[in-house]
Symmetry: C2
Subunit: 478 residues, 2 copies
């Protein structure tokens, strides 16, 4: 099938056109429905049908990845209207390209027969990705209707944890034996029939399927045909086991500029391979994982998910946020007496809290990056803490003096100015410490240090900021 | 050169060992320096030298990318101690792998002679990446000492903006003519001598160097030798121009699972190609760009940069943060009279501000993701605003009622509880609006919507939160 592969800019235009078509289509259908039956109504229905055809042809002419992009960019109602127009034989390829949160509701719209049909069109690892997003009961029903061999392959693929190399790998490996000559190797590959594309490297195994090396296709092509595969191949290629973390595999691809890498079992027998295109998919998903995670959103949060679902997703974090804000509020409650005597305290205290929250979040962002890249370890985290404290002390002195001066100008009280400056310095030190410690503790507890770290940190810097400022003020001024 | 290509987990161990060696090395040198000259001092110096040899051999045995990883993970002083131990012929490869903020100070340590030497070792596009990070005067001096041809290549590479495809592309293209047979094509490539690795695709041009297609190496290998290149190639491959945005190219690689793509000039003449490994590099850099940018840090901020430099980098954002916090403080200042009468207001107002800041940041993270992926456009941004307002209204009602109830329990005042609940709802609506509008306005102004958007948003939600809550309270309660 020849697809329109469009460039990014023109794809934006395509999206706008399809949105316009969908809107027109919707309003035309409404109009036709309101009209009394008769000539007029038939004419309207005819126009609506012609526009629907145009829409259908546009959606199906696009590359599956582009259709997926368009679907992701549509509000939920328009998405549901567009989906039935997509031809059945293209739905599998498109579903695979969709973000999980968009994919999930669409898969559930598929009938069992259609799912079985997809199992024939798609490689078993890809089909497993779809089955994974079905409710458990339906997944079991669909698996039950597959052939025994196919079922086992899908079940194996399903058995790997989502963030493992096993879940990332493909199993349709192209191999040659290490003791063949290049000429024999080429013969054996030609005999194999259809080869997957893009084919960039051949995996080299011995007669027991134990990994021996990696042979770039170009070397097979340009090497001396009488030489042995074992002499020409890369003998110790970077390889993974199915239980390795997918993120670490992606980092290895980045670090060593890999195009493909074999996956082996504990006996070093070949079980699959990871291709760079899956790593690119994963990395581009990761791009937003941290920034969304810090505010408590899932990585593939759907920009256009229905309101109710979005609201629920954010509840747990809004709740946690309220809890920490409530604690901060009780800290202030303790000092209500002081505030009644000097209302200026109420005006100044949010500055102390805010500066702590924002500088602490800078530290959190750096620490999470260091953790994700494995640059932070036992031996340098203390160094990092000292450094962040030093940076905060430097900034705290500079900005504390400035805010102290401004406080003096505004309220004309030197003690109040001193309390303000000192509280800013101290809370920035608290923020640096919390910024380093929070993600590290979350990680030590086996939790993702990204999820909600920003909400946790703000809770600490708010409470401590109020405590330090109001405490100092009560002790010194009142 | 055979490198130790280490797996991620063992690389962490390697890093720890090298850190330990560096620490021991430092303390031994100090000891030797303090000792009086004599037998003892010579023995100590001998031990220090042996350990230095061990360190040197470890650092130089690693893959350049791994040495770069180790250097990035070292505190600045240890990094400066390790750098001179790295062999001159490996420095270029290692510098290319380093994050910019780590690379920059190390490049400036190189002498002019060493830089000229690097220009001979590295492809001109890679060498240009290094020259870019030199102070202007030194860059001019180094360029002046290059041969005319080399200088022109480097200057061409330097002329592309940093985020363009031109800066990403390589110029050592491997091409064949479209009118050759596969057999002739293989002959012409063999005649070319050394081919770059990994070679996954051959670019197909006509006799005027105009791009005609892309020929995967595997198809060259397994196709019928008597067929023409033009019959076997992909006739309309995804291609870029030098002025295309690098990010958009990366998205196209992700979307269409590309391994390589040609770059052409306006006349469709081939000027270079982009390889997937550069896209992987770029994507893995991007992973942290947004989360760091939102809190005002540069994407390649160095975890272990010297304190002074880190402090300065954060100043402009701390300053902006203080400004917005100061405005929020003045809003409270207006209501000091109300707070004197009812100090409970001071305790409750940070809850309103905090919930607005955190929910608004959730919206900001979603909007920036939508903008980066081009899923947000003129026609659906209004839809998104309505949706975010609806989600906020839903959450605002739920949590507003809860906090109202808690306020009633704590302070026993129904009007205060009503003000609290209403203020929370209203500030969450403000937060949703600001969360959608802030990044869009920054983008419209031609600025990066990521940089500091979180600080800007918090400024708005704080000020508005205090204004709404204290304003309502003053009007209703006092």
């Amino acid at each position: 099938v020849q697809h329109e592969v469009e460039h990014h800019t023109s794809l934006e235009a395509t999206l706008l056109e399809i949105q316009a078509l969908l809107e027109r289509h919707e309003s035309e259908r409404e109009e036709a429905a309101q009209e009394q039956p008769g000539e007029e109504a038939r004419a309207l229905a005819e126009i609506a049908r012609r526009h629907e055809d145009e829409l259908e042809s546009r959606l199906n002419r696009l590359h599956p990845a582009d259709t997926a992009f368009v679907l992701e960019s549509l509000p939920a109602e328009q998405r549901d209207a567009a989906w039935p127009l997509i031809h059945r034989d293209r739905r599998g390829a498109i579903l695979l390209e969709l973000a999980e949160s968009v994919q999930e509701p669409l898969i559930q719209l598929l009938g069992d027969d259609e799912l079985i049909e997809l199992s024939r069109q798609l490689p078993s690892t890809d089909f497993a990705d779809l089955v994974e997003n079905l409710p458990e009961e339906r997944a079991a029903a669909v698996l039950g209707r597959l052939g025994a061999g196919e079922r086992q392959q899908v079940q194996t693929a399903l058995s790997f944890p989502e963030d493992s190399v096993g879940a990332l790998m493909e199993t349709d490996v192209v191999t040659v034996w290490d003791d063949l000559t290049l000429e024999q190797a080429i013969q054996s590959l030609r005999g194999r029939g259809a080869l997957p594309e893009p084919l960039t490297s051949i995996l080299v195994v011995d007669r027991s399927n134990v990994l021996k090396g990696l042979l770039p296709v170009a070397r097979l092509l340009f090497g001396d045909p009488s030489r042995k595969v074992v002499e020409v191949m890369d003998a110790d290629p970077v390889h993974f086991s199915t239980t390795d973390k997918a993120d670490e595999a992606a980092q290895a691809f980045d670090r060593y500029d890999l195009i493909a890498a074999p996956v082996v079992d504990p006996q070093r027998r070949l079980v699959g391979w990871v291709n760079v295109d899956q790593v690119v998919d994963r990395l581009s998903d990761d791009t937003f994982k941290q920034s969304l995670g810090q505010v408590g959103l899932e990585e593939d949060a759907d920009l256009f998910a229905p309101v109710w679902r979005s609201g629920q997703r954010r509840w747990v974090w809004v709740g946690l946020n309220l809890l920490t804000a409530f604690i901060a509020s009780r800290v202030i409650g303790v000092f209500e007496g002081s505030i009644e005597k000097l209302a200026a305290l109420a005006a100044l205290m949010p500055i102390v809290a805010s500066i702590g929250g924002n500088t602490g979040n800078q530290t959190v962002a750096l620490v999470i990056r260091g953790l994700t890249l494995s640059q932070l370890n036992e031996s340098n985290r203390l160094y990092l803490l000292r450094r962040e404290l030093a940076v905060s002390a430097l900034n705290g002195v500079v900005w504390g003096l400035l805010m102290g001066a401004i406080t003096l100008l505004l309220y004309g009280s030197l003690p109040l100015a001193a309390v303000m400056g000192l509280a800013m310095l101290l809370n920035m030190l608290v923020a640096a410490t919390a910024g380093v410690v929070c993600p590290l503790v979350l990680e030590r507890l086996g939790r993702d240090p990204v999820m909600g770290s920003s909400i946790l940190l703000t809770g600490i810097t708010d409470s401590m900021g109020f405590l330090i400022f109001l405490g100092l003020a009560s002790a010194i001024l009142l």
